[in-house]
Subunit: 375 residues, 2 copies
């Protein structure tokens, strides 16, 4: 694999929690970081300037979706994903594996790759490790991810087979990579099984990647199982490279997983719940469609400094969601992303200042819920 | 009627075209002006800061919609429409009459008012002139409008009856008004019939209002009929008060109606066409869903300075519209509103500098279409 453009400075650690700085061709990413999900070359209901305004430093694009529509070759012709979507900051593209296994139809997996039908028009397509790298090289993200298989978390025998494929595919992805300005992440799998997780972390670390994603979690297992997996995996991963937990999560998840050594997160939760009329807050989720907000002059979350909370009332946001107005989706998305991005920044400051544990305890006290495995 | 808060400075005229400045409690409105339509207390797909960014100086709210949801009394409790929707600039609310006659169900009109059923839940409601003024006083817009009846434009006998009601209701609205910080507009009706239009303009002018709306046009009549109506009406209206043509329109409509003495416009065209994937341009409308834009790296309208045109390609906007992404609606709305607001500003400058006719001719030359009744 050619030398990568990615560099990672580990600036401080506090327990297992870390504060760092990822350098990419499109700018720096302070970690811990939450990456808003831009599935179809747009973070839903947000413009690039809105994303800057809420504090986003990197966004995620979905390889599966962009390959199908508008097509990675078209995006390459139009100057790559950054130019296409007007976002000049860092971008990570996933491998498409998760969507193939969760969204595509009639998928058929073999040792060489996976054949599937588009969820849009039923057309047949095939992803191999080499194809997925080629697509991501066309898209041109700063951080790209190896094709992996996200297996059902509790099926041991299936996970053994899937892990063998994931590891073989990781080797092929690494061999297929040609661009020197993209950093490649391997994906640790292994379901809820500590022995498989350990095996995967060691195998990929021995191969050597620019960073390590942790997949197959937050897919239905318990919080305890998720935390136990992280506690096995992160001590094995190289300290001087970033760790990315895929598909997580809630404010509390971010804190508990940073406490277990994770640096990067993505999740559709803040954008998807926004479009369902719900706000994430430090004290839990609230649904603005609820009639109790009809005359509520308070902001979505009192004390929040986002555009939505500093300009509009719950009563107004409730009205917008009831009337199905786009601005309602937008304002709730602004708030939800702002909250997760703010919590990530706060955790970073806490680690840098050496009081992450106090921050973590204060969060759960505000939240009013017991932390899971806080010790 | 108490003395109104509205003052209008007629700064210049060039032919029948005028440049002016309306003073309201929430700021000044340079005219000619296009008012983006904020039906349900939001201009669809736009935040207040987006509206400022495209150059909006006043927006419109729909009394019918706001009365039904979230309710004018609720809005009053929450500080009025400006505070509720976070827009601190001038607002005009219409009378609700047009929506009752176009949107509500099972409407029954009588001399005293109109009974109708909500298009949302079928519940029964009644609008009288007094009720409509009370609703608009609850909403608290800077400019409010008398209840009128928008009759089928080509039915003479019906227009005679409707005009009698509209005039009687105008008198009752004027008498019912209690707030001194709101300006009241009468509505000239009369369909496509010059004698009725003249009668209406004289009747309302004799009564005396803060400004004059012209209703019942752009509802299916020909451009020639619309222009002929304006040519009858505007010379009768007081020169030192603003004239507002309701429900118009396209870039060309704005220019031709300013040429006939109109100062203010509103229309759902720029926002509605945006959500259908279409852009208004100086050379006509284009539908971004068209396959010919799939690889088009040009902006929506080359030369346009709006956020959408300075940051994104037609190919990207086409992708967003095909993928039904909210950002597509937003970017097209930004462009369409920016275009109409820019044309209104350009007309104002042309009038102030005394070359409106040259501006008008240049517009139609760029457009590539013959102007209607340009002389």
């Amino acid at each position: 694999m050619p030398k990568s453009a990615l560099a990672f400075d580990l600036l401080a650690a506090d327990g297992h929690a870390r504060a760092g700085l990822i350098h990419t061709p499109h700018g720096q990413i302070p970690t811990p970081v939450f990456m808003p999900v831009g599935t179809q070359a747009t973070v839903k209901a947000m413009s690039p300037r809105d994303l800057r305004d809420v504090g986003a430093t990197i966004i995620l694009g979905n390889t599966y979706h962009l390959y199908l529509r508008p097509g990675d070759e078209r995006i390459a012709r139009l100057g790559g994903l950054h130019a296409f979507m007007g976002w000049d900051g860092p971008i990570l593209t996933d491998s498409g594996g998760y969507q193939v296994f969760s969204l595509a139809q009639r998928r058929k997996i073999d040792a060489d790759g996976v054949t599937f039908r588009s969820h849009i028009d039923g057309s047949e397509h095939r992803f191999t490790p080499e194809k997925v790298v080629a697509i991501q090289e066309n898209l041109g993200a700063d951080l790209i991810v190896c094709l992996d298989e996200c297996a059902p978390a509790n099926d041991y025998d299936y996970n053994v087979q899937a892990l063998a494929r994931t590891h073989a595919w990781a080797q092929r992805c690494k061999a297929a990579k040609t661009r020197t300005d993209q950093a490649l992440f391997g994906v640790v799998q292994g379901g809820v099984f500590p022995d498989l997780r350990e095996q995967s972390a060691r195998f990929l670390t021995d191969m050597g990647f620019d960073g390590y994603a942790i997949g197959g979690l937050s897919v239905g297992e318990t919080k305890e199982q998720m935390h136990a997996s992280l506690e096995v995996v992160t001590p094995i991963l190289p300290a001087d490279q970033p760790r990315y937990l895929m598909g997580v999560g809630t404010p509390g998840d971010l804190i508990e997983c940073v406490a277990r050594g994770v640096d990067m997160f993505d999740c559709v939760l803040p954008t998807r719940t926004a479009r369902n009329g719900s706000a994430l807050t430090r004290t839990g989720r609230i649904n603005l469609r609820n009639a109790r907000f009809a005359d509520d002059a308070d902001p979505i979350e009192p004390g929040c400094t986002c555009y939505a909370c500093t300009h509009f009332s719950r009563a107004y946001v409730r009205h917008l969601t009831k009337a199905n107005e786009i601005l309602g989706h937008h304002l709730l998305t602004v708030h939800n992303l702002h909250l997760l991005l703010t919590i990530a920044r706060e955790m970073r400051e806490a680690v840098l200042e050496g009081h992450f544990q106090a921050y973590r305890e204060a969060f759960w006290q505000t939240c009013g819920q017991p932390a899971v495995n806080l010790a």
